[in-house]
């Protein structure tokens, strides 16, 4: 009982520093929790490192060595020199040689090459005669950034390169005419490229989040325990969680594409049905990946963090923000592992180039493979017991 006096005094002292003590208590507690949360910890390190490496090494806004096709109607020394000169500009890298115009168009439509050069029959003879024949350089201009620098400097660069060769005329007058043809987006309007890209980006973001929380939510709310005690199989749980959101994603895609068409005047040159079908595939692939995260994550916060760490490279490495062909090879390989990369090619090709299934086989197959891969992991990772 005699303690009352002293405790009274001590309480007064404590109150004077109460603000700091309580704040400090909170700070310590937060640090302890942060230290135990490995994924948050990883994010603190991963996000800046990833961003710096990607922006520093992978992203190149004036891309070089862009994949190009050549339609060689004539095999002459002059033709070879011109191609060599084009390659020497460092903008072009001839990866394909084609033999007819259809093949040439298909390669451009599918996005396998960004440029096509056509050397017409009788080119060398026409040059000798001083007829100034036309050399066609067709560019996939859906991404204006990727195409413009190469196209812009075409005339000048070829001239300089050819000066060392046999057929140089006076610098200002080249003995042939370079007819540059910016296909699909001749006015180089960036919105024509960005709006279809946004369809994919927005879908990636929302679809991942929908399913990334699905399993962790059941675990956190305790409903997983009774679900597991009932006769339902992991595949059934997964399908049940994915299918409703395919519909949601479909509505979302419909909305974005409509706004793109009616507000931003982006055309849909290809088949709407094909666009819908492949968009559904892409939506399902993202849902499957989100679902996989939710079977790996310990809680909802981790699931969100994983989705974010997947979303960031998707934006940077898919060709949405920066030209895909301009990235170094390792970054392109990483990009091939992202559904958004393939969908961007698909959606741009259908909307802007009027591509058909025939042009999009590889990317559709890649999307399917990525989706099945994610689903397989999810089914394996799904814990049927509480062990």
């Amino acid at each position: 009982m005699s303690m009352i006096g002293t405790t009274g005094e001590r309480r007064e002292i404590r109150d004077r520093f109460g603000f700091w003590r309580r704040s400090w208590a909170m700070v310590t507690k937060e640090f302890i929790q942060l230290r135990r949360d490995r994924v948050s910890f990883a994010m603190i390190v991963m996000i800046p490192v990833m961003q710096l490496l990607l922006f520093g090494y992978a992203i190149n806004t004036t891309p070089h060595h862009l994949p190009s096709a050549v339609l060689l109607q004539e095999d002459s020394d002059l033709a070879r020199s011109v191609l060599k000169a084009l390659e020497n500009t460092a903008y072009f890298r001839f990866t394909r040689e084609v033999h007819d115009v259809d093949e040439f168009d298909n390669l451009l439509k599918s996005g396998k090459v960004l440029f096509g050069v056509e050397i017409p029959r009788g080119f060398e003879r026409a040059v000798r005669r001083g007829d100034k024949p036309a050399l066609l350089v067709a560019a996939d201009a859906t991404d204006p950034i990727a195409a413009s620098s190469a196209l812009g400097s075409l005339g000048m660069l070829v001239q300089t390169a050819l000066q060392h060769d046999l057929y140089i005329g006076d610098p200002p007058n080249l003995p042939f005419e370079i007819r540059a043809h910016a296909r699909y987006n001749p006015a180089a309007e960036s919105r024509l490229n960005i709006v279809p890209g946004l369809v994919g980006t927005i879908l990636t973001m929302t679809m991942l989040i929908f399913t990334a929380l699905s399993v962790t939510r059941e675990i956190e709310r305790g409903t997983m325990e009774s679900l597991l005690s009932m006769p339902i199989k992991p595949v059934e749980v997964m399908l049940g969680k994915i299918i409703p959101y395919i519909l949601v994603g479909f509505v979302q895609a419909f909305l974005i594409i409509n706004i793109g068409v009616f507000l931003f005047g982006v055309p849909v040159l290809g088949s709407l049905f094909l666009l819908a079908a492949l968009s559904t595939l892409f939506i399902a692939a993202n849902l499957a990946i989100g679902y996989t995260f939710s079977t790996v994550a310990q809680n909802q916060l981790q699931a969100i963090q994983m989705s974010f760490m997947f979303f960031l490279p998707s934006i940077l490495l898919s060709g949405f923000m920066f030209p895909f062909a301009g990235m170094p090879v390792w970054a392109q390989y990483l990009g091939e592992g992202l559904p958004l990369t393939h969908y961007l090619r698909i959606v741009r090709a259908i909307m802007l180039k009027g591509a058909t299934m025939q042009n999009l086989g590889y990317d559709s197959l890649a999307l399917t493979a990525l989706m099945l891969f994610a689903m397989a992991i999810a089914v394996m990772r799904f814990r049927r017991t509480l062990d």
């Binding site: 679900l227 005690s229 339902i232």
Partner: protein
């Protein structure tokens, strides 16, 4: 389709179950048998391994060692078949809080492939006395109703065995009594019920009980058998008890001193030592000593104290 090994009317028959988590043994060499149609009470302190044992029985956990059958199905190999015929009510409410009563029941009925899910749900709502509340969200129900709904959900697919993990924790006495009446009604229909609980009055409502502490099954049988086997001698003291409990505690032969309302229970295993220790107080005026039977609670507290010495 039913596992015919439910012979002799034994529904649960397991031997030597052991399960560890992170190097800590939660269930140790546990063997038990449960008869068809009986209500089997599972008692023990928190963290004693009751929940783990129940989860092993319904296939949610795989035992590290040990074997046995549940409804005639092997608990290791046939977990999926066991799940079809077992209703498991989790300790924490595990139905969907954001689904209505009806939607929750229909979901369960569909998962079990019941032909008329809507009809089955409607019947269950009536049986539970939840008519008029079927569109209410499960999360908005009171504790007692939630627990009734959970019981309804796990009996909906007509299981043969119910595993109830502390079903009445945090439920008021009236609801608890109704709940137990329901369980007895179900058992009378032939359903076997394994129920874990902390409440002694509930233990006494079971046909058979088992006491488990620190993963070890310490006693089992009917309530009378368990009390008789304990060999505990108990005195009930009434009168002027002020300070008596503190004075008696720790004296040789006095294993347990526990107040019960206005009386005090003094128990010990060694009768002679107990009598010697309490002798000075037995003659004391104002204290009334009476030899009595230990209650189930006395027996369990004593078992728990003893097991603490043995296993910790």
């Amino acid at each position: 389709m039913n596992g015919t090994a439910t012979n002799n009317g034994i529904v649960i028959d397991v031997k030597g179950l052991t399960k560890s988590f992170g190097g800590r043994e939660v269930v140790h060499d546990l063997s038990m048998q449960v008869k068809r149609g009986s209500i089997y009470g599972f008692l023990g302190p928190n963290g004693s391994g009751k929940t783990t044992t129940i989860r092993i029985l319904c296939g949610l956990l795989t035992p590290d060692s040990g074997e046995g059958t549940c409804l005639g199905y092997d608990i290791r190999r046939d977990a999926e078949k066991i799940k079809r015929q077992v209703g498991y009510m989790t300790q924490r409410f595990s139905l969907y809080q954001d689904l209505s009563v009806r939607e929750n029941l229909e979901f369960v009925a569909r998962l079990y492939g019941m032909p008329d899910a809507r009809g089955a749900a409607r019947e269950m709502i009536e049986r539970l006395g939840l008519s008029g509340r079927e569109e209410q969200l499960a999360g908005e129900l009171s504790g007692g109703w939630k627990q009734r709904l959970a019981l309804g959900a796990c009996t909906l697919p007509n299981p043969q065995l119910l595993l109830l993990d502390e079903p009445t924790a945090g439920v008021d006495p009236k609801a608890r009594r109704d709940f137990w009446n329901e369980i007895h009604a179900l058992a009378a229909e032939g359903l076997t019920v394994l129920v874990s609980t902390h409440y002694m009055d509930e233990a006494e409502r079971c046909h058979e009980i088992a006491y488990i502490a620190y993963g070890h099954l310490l006693a089992h049988g009917t309530v009378e058998q368990v009390i008789a086997k304990s060999a505990l001698t108990t005195y009930t003291v009434t009168g002027d008890l002020n300070g008596l409990a503190a004075e008696l505690a720790g004296k040789p032969g006095v294993d347990m001193v526990a107040p019960f309302g206005t009386s005090l229970h003094v128990s010990g295993r060694d009768v002679a030592a107990l009598e010697a220790s309490i002798a000075p107080w037995r003659a004391k005026a104002g204290l009334h000593w009476q030899a009595s039977h230990p209650s189930l609670e006395d027996v369990f507290i004593e078992l728990m104290n003893r097991s603490k010495d043995n296993f910790q």
